[in-house]
């Protein structure tokens, strides 16, 4: 049975959910990510944000800038995964151990991140394709 360590912080569990709804005009994906831990570090005058439970990172010129790039980039990455694989399964890989090890270094700050995004992928307009049968002369 695991023992409680005095002073240890209980870390929240990260959640990732993906729902799919088939609609007349295409497919709607709803993706929710909760309690994603993102480590933010100063890197030679720039800011670097690296998620721990998902191996995604972004670089920016300020705290606000790196957050904006991280959020927009992750949302667009989810969208690409949905377009190509139809799921976010291949995105759900944690950062490597060396990134987790940095979690305990003083110069990094960890923030919890959550987002819910809706990705609507329109079906190709197949009704606009005209098919011709080539008949033998």
């Amino acid at each position: 049975m695991p023992q409680k360590t005095k002073g240890a912080t209980k870390l929240p569990t990260v959640t990732a959910v993906h729902g799919v709804k088939q609609a007349k005009g295409g497919t709607a994906h709803v993706v929710g990510i909760g309690n994603l831990r993102v480590m933010i570090t100063r890197d030679d005058g720039s800011w670097f944000a690296h998620a721990l439970e998902i191996d995604y990172a972004a670089q920016g010129s300020s705290w606000a800038d790196v957050k904006r790039r991280f959020e927009n980039g992750l949302r667009a990455t989810i969208d690409e995964h949905l377009k190509i694989y139809g799921s976010i399964e291949k995105l759900l890989w944690p950062a490597p151990p060396e990134v987790w090890a940095e979690l305990f270094k003083a110069e990094s700050t960890v923030k919890l991140y959550a987002q819910v995004s809706v990705h609507v992928h329109k079906a190709l307009p197949f009704d606009q394709i005209e098919y011709y049968e080539r008949r033998a002369a």
Binding site: T41, S46, S61, D65, G73, A76, T77
Partner: protein
Amino acid sequence: MSDEPHDNVLPLAAGEPGSVKKDVALEVLVAHGVSVVHKGNKVILSKGNVIEVQLFPARLHRRMLHRLARRFDIPIYHFYHPEAAKKQQP
């Protein structure tokens, strides 16, 4: 002629690699078989099962370069010596 092999390397403390221009980093990625697709201010990077979208600033710093090197299996020094990456192109 500059002592620096590339003007994209910023002077930093000894032993610490610098930053490189975004375009140089993208060239190195392409040389290593990474598909680079520009979509507005975003760049879609893909190779094998790895797909990610980035909003890169003008210069990429050490941590981002190390991450790209690891993610796409590229020797880190190729970002600082892009001619080495180009030589190995098929």
